[in-house]
Symmetry: C2
């Protein structure tokens, strides 16, 4: 099966499971509608796909792991709902954010509900005959730790973005932030899938490393799309990372290689919400001239190569092939 | 051992465990400090006490259940941090609330971190030799469901409080709200303790009913203290439930029994943040004259009786005796 078709097939099953966890008739209606909002608005469902393929790749039963696949998508959306409040973002996936429609209090609870539903879902894996309770406990423990890591990552993201305006942020600090904020959930998705699927310790480690590396590459490409992709494709305003003053590796590279006049030109738009599209385009051109975008893309490619190398030890299978293709997709995608 | 002394002894162990989960040296420092803030400010630790005594009452090992005891306190504090943001409360436990000190974004993440740490803690119970992974999965599943219920309860609380100003709220709606918002966590604390402790289905059901009933009684007394207790004892401004226009059974009873002039007097302060202490005192006197406070206290007493009756099937033990005493304490407490 082609990769995009396989991702789509998987997303149908995951979405169906999530709809039953967050049904239309559940009360309070507003709260459940707010919880479903971003999930229904779109998303590629890459994380659940990783759970399912990691399970199949170690010889596990895809039907046993579906609740776990849903759980990582719920966690992902929980973090989006809360992050949008913190970042004061008005749009995501082409629709107004949850707090814009229902207000901050309901958005906070909607995020909390997605979080608890994620654990309800994951723990249901124990009902499947092929899954031992030991493995479910181990998967749930790792998911809980990953969520703590994501919380640390979001806090780091806020503090680094504030700092970059005045002082140097190192590449190490950037790596720690995106590892925690983004890669940890990709990593744990692969771990959960292979643990529930009955994988050996070596197989779980291999998929864990794969997930971490494509997570890092994914975030790097997100940063690139954040300055180069257009609004329709992105589902949110162009250049919002620049306007919001987000700390990205592109910015770190650009600021440490810029002349003082180039630096001044970048700082004129960085963190300024009211910049024009023309000003934005000039800065994007500058980031390209400084080689900052290709620098980040090259690094992302290296992580994709590491990811593919990590899972070379797995037996050949359709799932392994899809994971190999997915690694390339992560940095070739346009959205 | 005396009840209050037993609660105190238990809280030392729980606090010690929580300190190791949220250590001073953990980074980002601010995030962990924000997460510890309310826990360090006080609290009676009744929920962890319920976990531990429910475990011992069914013959379980207290040391095996300590991580589970910590987990319900972490969940409790997670809900407090997020509720304070939603209710715009400035003080709790005699200190400024988390969002007042660190701002809303950090408070949201601090709550999320407490939530994930709660599951990290609970899942550690599986490390103890006496606890089967099946029981840990079952306990974690119930805790996740309880958190979903609490989220529903917080949403209900917000909508009922808005509605009471204009229309009638029924006692059934009030019961559903406090069951979800408060009693569900007391209930699941007893369930988790008895499940991890190896209790029979009948014992778990008995303790579940006990927990639910003292949870309902606890919230009713909270509502009473909210209008009668003084500020020093309460740790937050007197009459904040009235000022914030909270939906309590006292208010439902008073409004449905008040003459039109009494109703007008109540509505003059209800939901008004700028009321004076004198105006507040007049309304408290009116609530007493209408019999609304004694009405709620009588109902709370009935739930305490039901709670005690529920656990009469348990074998005699020190833990059972403490749980019986705790039921009485819940409605005799002054704070």
């Amino acid at each position: 099966m082609k990769l995009l078709e396989a991702i789509k097939q998987c997303s149908f099953k995951v979405d169906d499971f999530i709809r039953r966890l967050l049904p239309d008739e559940a009360k309070p209606r507003e709260l459940y509608a707010a919880s479903r909002h971003l999930i229904e608005a779109g998303g590629k469902r890459l994380r659940p796909f990783l759970v399912v393929q990691s399970c199949i790749a170690v010889g596990g039963d895809a039907s046993a792991v579906l609740p776990a696949a849903a759980s990582v998508e719920l966690i992902h959306n929980f973090t989006l709902v809360h992050d949008d409040i913190m970042d004061r973002d008005d749009f995501r996936r082409g629709v107004p954010t949850v707090h814009r429609i229902w207000g901050v209090p309901t958005a906070i609870i909607a995020g909390d509900l997605l979080f608890s539903k994620a654990f309800e879902a994951l723990l249901r894996c124990a009902k499947h005959i092929s899954v031992s309770p030991e493995r479910v406990v181990e998967a749930a423990r790792r998911l809980a730790e990953a969520v703590s890591t994501i919380a640390e990552g979001q806090a780091l993201d806020m503090s680094l973005s504030g700092r970059l305006k005045e002082e140097v942020v190192s590449e190490e600090e950037y790596y720690e932030m995106i590892y925690k904020k983004t890669a940890a959930l990709f990593k744990v998705s692969c771990e959960i899938g292979s643990i529930i699927g009955g994988g050996s310790e070596e197989q779980v480690r291999a998929l864990s490393s794969y997930g971490e590396n494509i997570g890092l590459a994914f975030q790097m490409l997100d940063d690139i799309l954040g300055v180069t992709a257009d609004e329709k494709v992105l589902g949110k305003p162009v250049g919002s990372d620049l306007r919001e003053g987000k700390c990205t590796l592109i910015m770190i590279h650009a600021l440490s290689n810029a002349s003082s006049s180039q630096r001044a030109a970048i700082m004129k738009v960085y963190g300024k919400s009211e910049i024009s599209v023309e000003e934005l385009k000039l800065v994007v051109k500058l980031l390209e001239d400084l080689g900052s975008i290709s620098y980040v893309l090259d690094l992302a490619k290296k992580h994709v190569d590491s990811a593919k190398k990590s899972i070379s030890i797995l037996p050949e299978s359709g799932a392994k092939r899809l994971l190999m293709e997915l690694a390339d997709f992560v940095i070739s995608r346009k959205y």
